[in-house]
Symmetry: C2
Subunit: 169 residues, 2 copies
């Protein structure tokens, strides 16, 4: 027996997107309870040349959509990245969940050897197989942004813990 490409992608994204949504909700409630301007959290960064919370969430969802779509050989949807509030981010996560839940396992399974080219036509062009794209690129990137979003909120005193990060498993 082996594991399926679908099992290693869409359900992993779902688990972490749901937990990120939950962590963001706790952050919003914290801001409200403490009279904190929500943008103090949404625009928070760990260092001036790192992305702020809002952008980390956008990029995490972008990887969830992009990786799922590329594995399925489907078109990668273009989003406008115009979110500005916690409510916007929750809606973005909900839309992303709906998008990735639209893929049936059969659309992704079997595409382990599909050739996937990132940044085609640029000096950074890179060729992957479906499997290497997910395991050596997609998952590390996705987890980077989910964890960094969590780290920004922890650094700003939001009372969440590893259980909130992990979500339902």
């Amino acid at each position: 027996m082996t594991i399926s490409l679908y099992a290693a992608s869409v359900p992993v994204f779902k688990q972490m997107l749901n937990s990120m949504n939950h962590v963001l909700t706790k952050a919003e409630e914290h801001a409200e309870a403490k009279n904190i301007d929500p943008s103090a959290l949404l625009q928070a960064r760990l260092f001036p040349d790192m992305f702020q919370l809002l952008r980390q969430v956008q990029i995490a969802t972008d990887f969830a959509r992009g990786v799922s779509a590329r594995l399925a050989g489907a078109e990668v949807p273009k989003y406008e990245d115009k979110e500005q509030t916690f409510a916007d981010l929750r809606e973005l996560i909900a839309k992303t969940l709906t998008f990735i839940e639209g893929f049936a396992p059969a659309q992704i399974d079997g595409n382990e050897d599909r050739v996937i080219v990132t940044r085609p036509g640029t000096p950074k062009e890179k060729k992957f197989t479906g499997q290497s794209y997910l395991l050596s690129y997609g998952l590390p990137q996705f987890f980077f942004h989910v964890t960094t979003a969590y780290a920004i909120l922890r650094h700003n005193g939001i009372e969440v813990g590893k259980r909130d990060y992990m979500g339902q498993y």
Copy 2:
């Protein structure tokens, strides 16, 4: 075709452990160049009740060893966690790499349905299959600690970027 349990575990750990080693080396060089006490970085945290850099690295390597061993049905090695310096952490990563590279694909592949019980006999006991243990628990935990170690160093001004985090892929 499908992907193998081995491909989704040991090589992923290897890639990220090597990149974490590289990021730690850059941090040590930075400390030396700027006359920073290395423990100012090793003991740095993003929030008082989060683990410091040194512990984040220990836990990341612990998940790499523990997940690989459990998937193979091998004994999980006990380490003493007595690292105190950057050199100690590099040695810990090297030992962890040697340990996980000791597993042949055939020792892990096929164990997707192996029953894995975490924290047995405690109220937090949880039963997994090999596949769910890796995808819904092991990888999210491992990436959490690798990314948080990176985030602590970025927050402290170490000049590393996404390319350093991603490593060789």
